[in-house]
């Protein structure tokens, strides 16, 4: 039905910025890094550039005392953020591998009498407002050195369960509490001693506050997911519980993630069963099945290859204006215009127009013409830097973060680095991009990380509305973020420039 304009009354066009697609979200896009498994079995979850972890196949492994490393693998289910082409797939699975090192002699309590030991099992607790755990019941200091501190790791970090250590190590008490109904968190405690790097870790245990009731599909809250024509199953996101298995017609497809191709010529409905492990704290236990019906299309739906799908990254413009071409995640770069720029006296974002040919297959426009119009891509051309080091002094963090959301977690206090910007005030520096950050009289190599910039405060973890600058290796400010850690967790914020 056509939209009508009745011309004797006003007709308003309400025009807003079009949603920009970011291409296909892949494990590369997610940018998992820093995944590791300690000899003790402690799993350090990876940092993500984009997306969030929905589920993981393991949270810890047994201690490795075999004398050789053990290959370990954890599959992370990652929620696809908005604006990616495949956002309707809801999640992707990314596998992280790490060789768990064997316990070194220095870490072995039988060889190093400084090492603490862990014995027993810290029990799960549920239905309580709080519970106290006497850590000395489970951890024992080595004969050569006392436990100097305990580190409590909570997952997920944002859940409303408080973990407070009281007393003095090694005889500290860990109190877990929540004033909110049905809050679930998993904890691991690590005992450290200060003489060397020897640690001991506890078992993984859970705390659940009161009034959870019985676990059901409302708690699981499966959202999204799909089945492609060839049978590929894209899992939906879920909120509570860990996925025990994914079933189709009673068959476990957790690994294959395939429910069979649809060659019927018309869409068919298929029911996928999500089998969840019921978390501690609910009145029921074991597993719980949640059925989700998906419509499987009869034909493979191919995306259109556009500038976002090309996943343009990198590239460089020299101070003299010469262009080093960016790289593409997909497609072929044919040419670009202009070929060079004149020298600039201040760092200047320059737009390069890239002519890109779609990949030979996999897209609606595969085998077709180049993308039109050419894809604009912005690279900041560095100034010739006569002014580096002559500008306003700024205080910013020595620590650079892969994501602005990491800043809250590190909570470095008083760890500041004196930087100098190109001629700009603090307020100018946080209100536009392209400025230079210098150290002494050279550009500061920021490694494309995010740095907290401040005009006075010294604590981040409770700070509201502070700024972070993303700085590249040429000292150029690429992004400005406004962030807030006062709400706890990773905080909240957004890019403002």
């Amino acid at each position: 039905m056509s939209t009508k304009i009745n011309v004797r009354s006003p007709f308003f066009l309400d025009l807003t910025a079009p949603v920009q697609t970011l291409g296909i979200f892949t494990c590369t896009t997610a940018g998992l890094s820093n995944f590791s498994v300690a000899s003790s079995g402690f799993v350090t979850n990876p940092l993500l550039l984009a997306g969030s972890i929905v589920d993981q196949t393991a949270t810890e492994f047994p201690i490795n005392t075999t004398g050789s490393s053990i290959p370990r693998s954890v599959t992370y289910t990652i929620a696809i953020p908005a604006n990616y082409t495949n956002v309707n797939d809801a999640t992707i699975d990314c596998i992280q591998d790490f060789d768990q090192p064997t316990q070194s002699a220095n870490e072995d309590p039988s060889l190093n009498n400084n090492c603490p030991t862990f014995a027993g099992t810290i029990p799960n607790s549920s239905g309580l407002a709080s519970t106290a755990i006497t850590l000395s019941t489970y951890f024992t200091s080595g004969s050569g050195a006392d436990i100097s501190s305990y580190l409590v790791t909570k997952s997920p970090s944002g859940v409303a369960v408080d973990a407070v250590l009281t007393g003095t190590a090694p005889s500290q008490t860990l109190t877990l509490s929540s004033s909110t109904d049905c809050q679930l968190a998993t904890f691991i405690v690590t005992a450290r001693q200060s003489s060397d790097s020897c640690t001991a870790i506890s078992n993984s245990f859970t705390f659940a506050s009161a009034n959870c009731g019985a676990y059901d599909c409302t708690d699981a809250n499966v959202v999204g997911g799909s089945i492609e024509q060839d049978g590929t199953v894209n899992k939906g996101t879920h909120t509570l519980g860990t996925l025990n298995a994914l079933l189709y017609l009673g068959t476990d497809i957790t690994t294959s993630l395939n429910a069979g191709a649809n060659n019927t010529g018309s869409p068919v409905n298929k029911t996928i069963t999500y089998r969840f492990n019921i978390p501690n704290g609910f009145s029921n236990s074991g597993t719980f099945n949640c059925n989700v019906v998906y419509s499987q299309p009869a034909t493979q739906v191919l995306p259109t290859f556009d500038c976002a799908e090309a996943q343009i990254t990198g590239g460089f413009i020299s101070e003299q204006g010469n262009i080093a071409a960016p790289t593409l995640g997909a497609g072929t770069l044919v040419s670009w215009t202009p070929q060079s720029f004149a020298e600039v006296s201040v760092n200047t974002p320059q737009t390069i127009y890239l002519t890109i040919t779609p990949p030979a297959s996999g897209y609606i426009n595969s085998g077709g013409a180049d993308i039109t119009p050419p894809c604009p891509y912005i690279i900041t051309q560095p100034a010739t830097f006569p002014e580096c080091g002559l500008g306003t002094s700024l205080r910013f963090s020595k620590q650079g973060y892969n994501s602005p959301y990491d800043a809250c977690g590190f909570n470095f206090v008083g760890d500041w680095y004196l930087g100098q910007g190109s001629p700009a005030t603090y307020s100018e520096m946080i209100s536009t991009i392209g400025w230079s950050i210098c150290t002494s009289f050279s550009a500061f190599a920021g490694d494309d990380k995010y740095y907290v910039v401040t005009d006075g405060f010294t604590s981040v973890s409770t700070q509201s509305n502070f700024h972070l600058l993303k700085i590249d290796n040429y000292g150029t400010v690429q992004e400005v973020w406004l962030h807030n850690c006062s709400g706890g967790g990773n905080g909240a914020g957004a890019r403002i420039y």
Binding site: K4, I5, V7, R8, P10, L13, L15, T16, A17
Partner: protein, 329 residues
């Protein structure tokens, strides 16, 4: 990724949706986003209105046109058109209609029958026309005769005027599924042995031509405008003037004809048709074998109802939309 400005090209054209060419470009404009807002608002109805023509000559030709807004969205970071969906095309079908205040912004109104009154009055033995929107109607059943409605997709077929044979009783309007009855129009065939009924056609609220017959007494009046000047009528050679030669001369004389028409008794739910007639910009009367434009000279209308007035009739004054003496130059 914020919106900096939009560039808008507005095309108004006939034919099928999207078939515009460069010659159909009527307006081109740019508008910046106001700094404290996220959106940009553009009102285009007033612009499109300039290009809708109502040239009614008793022929019931559809006057709708397509309006296409081609909008370029500019990114404030790059000053360039957004990479994804940076240019968007919005197609609309323009009608010479209007919404009421209560119908809020961008009124869509009826998408099937294009008149609000479900009663029609026709003289006995006279056929009529009923406007429908081809996109929303699958068929009409006139008494027991079914007429399938086909949307040719051309703007000149979007409003279709269904011929109603003489002495029809009802017209049923069905949705495009051909099974859902949307509206039933009752046709009242009026026997008027004394007065000459006059057909008045106007552009109604929904932008379609609608007929109203005035069955009862018609009065015609006439008024004249003129000017005079004083002549110098003396013969200077004989120093005389003729007494048959006037000292004042009349000029710029013209006249206009007014008529007053009466509907005869109508049902209460016919009020909306009269109300729309009063609010119409364009009206024509079938008068002595010609279709002549008229302007409604009546400015007040008292809405009548059965409770207060028992029998409902309306008297409406019109003025022909031209001078008596042809001075069209």
């Amino acid at each position: 990724m914020a919106l900096k400005k939009i560039g808008l090209k507005l095309y108004v054209y006939t034919g099928t949706e999207g078939s515009y060419t460069s010659s159909d470009l009527k307006y081109q404009m740019e508008k910046d986003r106001i700094s404290n807002q996220d959106n940009i608002v553009v009102e285009i109805a007033q612009l499109v209105k300039d290009f809708l023509d109502n040239n009614f000559n008793d022929d019931y030709v559809c006057a709708t046109k397509w309006a296409t807004a081609v909008v370029d969205f500019y990114d404030s970071e790059t000053n360039e058109i957004f990479v994804t969906n940076g240019t968007q095309i919005f197609n609309y079908l323009a009608f010479d209609g209007y919404g009421h205040f209560e119908e809020e912004v961008n009124p869509q109104l009826s998408t099937d029958l294009l008149q609000t009154s479900l009663n029609m009055y026709l003289p006995e033995g006279i056929a009529g026309k009923l406007p429908i929107f081809a996109e929303g109607v699958g068929k009409v059943i006139i008494d027991s005769t079914t007429t399938e409605i086909t949307d040719s997709l051309d703007s000149n077929q979007k409003i279709q005027y269904i011929s109603i044979p003489a002495n029809t009783s009802t017209v049923e309007v069905y949705a495009t599924d051909d099974t859902t009855l949307l509206k039933t129009v009752t046709v009242n065939n009026v026997c008027e042995p004394k007065f000459t009924p006059y057909k008045l056609t106007f552009v109604n609220k929904l932008g379609a031509y609608q007929d109203i017959y005035f069955f009862k007494k018609t009065t015609e009046s006439f008024n004249v405008t003129d000017e005079t000047y004083k002549r110098n009528n003396i013969n200077t050679s004989t120093v005389t003037y003729g007494t048959n030669d006037g000292q004042k001369q009349r000029y710029n004389i013209n006249g206009s004809t007014k008529i007053t028409l009466n509907t005869g008794y109508v049902k209460e739910n016919f009020n909306s048709a009269l109300e729309e007639l009063f609010l119409s910009e364009n009206a024509w009367i079938r008068w002595e074998g010609k279709t002549l434009p008229v302007i409604i000279s009546s400015k007040d209308m008292t809405i009548k109802n059965v409770l207060n007035d028992k029998l409902i009739d309306y008297t409406v004054g019109f003025e022909f939309a031209f001078n008596k003496i042809n001075n069209v130059r």
